[in-house]
Symmetry: none
Subunit: 205 residues, 2 copies
């Protein structure tokens, strides 16, 4: 018989899970025997905890359950080695499906996520990035690029303004345009989007 172990912060979904797997064990902490499937339902998702759980139970498929599935969380989960990701309120039938898939060596993600992951993986491994080298820098005008690079080095708007000899207001304007073009919401995400940019030589030690 397949042993299912659910790790949950609180036990409130125990009944639901046990209707999918009558012999399911629900606990708040890892421990005890070695299950055949580990269902990780602790919220919020803590990377460190999950990672150590996966490492501890090496070989046991881990499925992450979330009360409100987020793609980003799912990506983190599979990056850490999880074999599945689905809604913690999924129907018992769905949970059984997932269990079957992962215990037979599969990865279960749900249709949308699956296609996203597959697309990303193939892009990465086949080396055909859609916007290959620059995920954005050449979308920007020269001025926008200059401002973006200043900001990406950690400058405040005021500092960037001084270095480029323009008004802080203008910096904001260019920066706003850059946000728009790169589809990010703030300077920090701009930096993350531009993270490949090598640090200026004249500022490196």
């Amino acid at each position: 018989m397949t042993k299912h172990l659910f790790i949950s912060s609180k036990g409130q979904l125990q009944a639901r899970w046990q209707s999918a797997f009558p012999d399911a064990v629900v606990r708040t902490e890892l421990g005890g025997g070695r299950p055949d499937v580990l269902w990780w339902a602790r919220v919020p998702l803590n990377s460190a905890e999950l990672s150590s759980a996966i490492a501890t139970l090496s070989g046991v498929p881990v499925v992450v359950l979330s009360p409100e599935p987020v793609q980003e969380d799912a990506m983190h989960a599979i990056a850490l080695g999880a074999r599945g990701y689905c809604h913690s309120h999924a129907t018992p039938a769905m949970l059984q499906q997932v269990a079957v898939a992962v215990t037979h060596g599969g990865l279960w993600l749900g249709p949308e996520l699956m296609s996203r992951v597959m697309g990303a993986a193939s892009e990465r491994l086949l080396g055909e990035h859609p916007a290959e080298a620059d995920p954005g820098l050449d979308l920007l005008t020269p001025r926008e690029r200059a401002v973006a690079l200043e900001v990406a080095r950690g400058a405040t708007n005021k500092e960037a303004a001084r270095r480029l000899d323009i008004t802080e207001r203008t910096v904001k304007a260019h920066l706003g345009a850059a946000f728009e073009k790169l589809g990010v919401r703030d300077r920090l995400q701009l930096v993350l989007a531009l993270k490949y940019v090598p640090v200026d030589i004249d500022h490196a030690a």
Copy 2:
């Protein structure tokens, strides 16, 4: 009963496959009814053919079989939407495993490929290389580190608070402590400090 359709250039493995699935149908071309699983064993792998087959049988999981599995082929296959990839001489037991996984919504790739694909997908989607131990990070307490990492991913204080299940105020506290310890003035420079080590912070002077 699950219907298995094998598409093969030549029929020589028919016996093996039928020992896994007694009612398996082996053909050289697509056609006839709609199977529950489509096993694609045509060699060499033709992207166009496979693609159109997957499109034609939309919704039917497709598993690509190869007499000599190559990672690149596997990547192409899943890029086109295949749900599995394995050796065409796999044991009947293995084939049954694969069938179970894919018919339950899973992706089946084999351990090595799976980890490769997962790694690639997460790198691509999260834009991160697997844990390159940041030197500054161990100056921080576990909680400060967790907050710092959330922020380093582009989260706002509010988002970090939600993800770590603490108040925004507490996020600020940990973050402030992290700024102090790392000698930076704001979240953006924190990210830079965690990503590239040798950046001089004071180009404002």
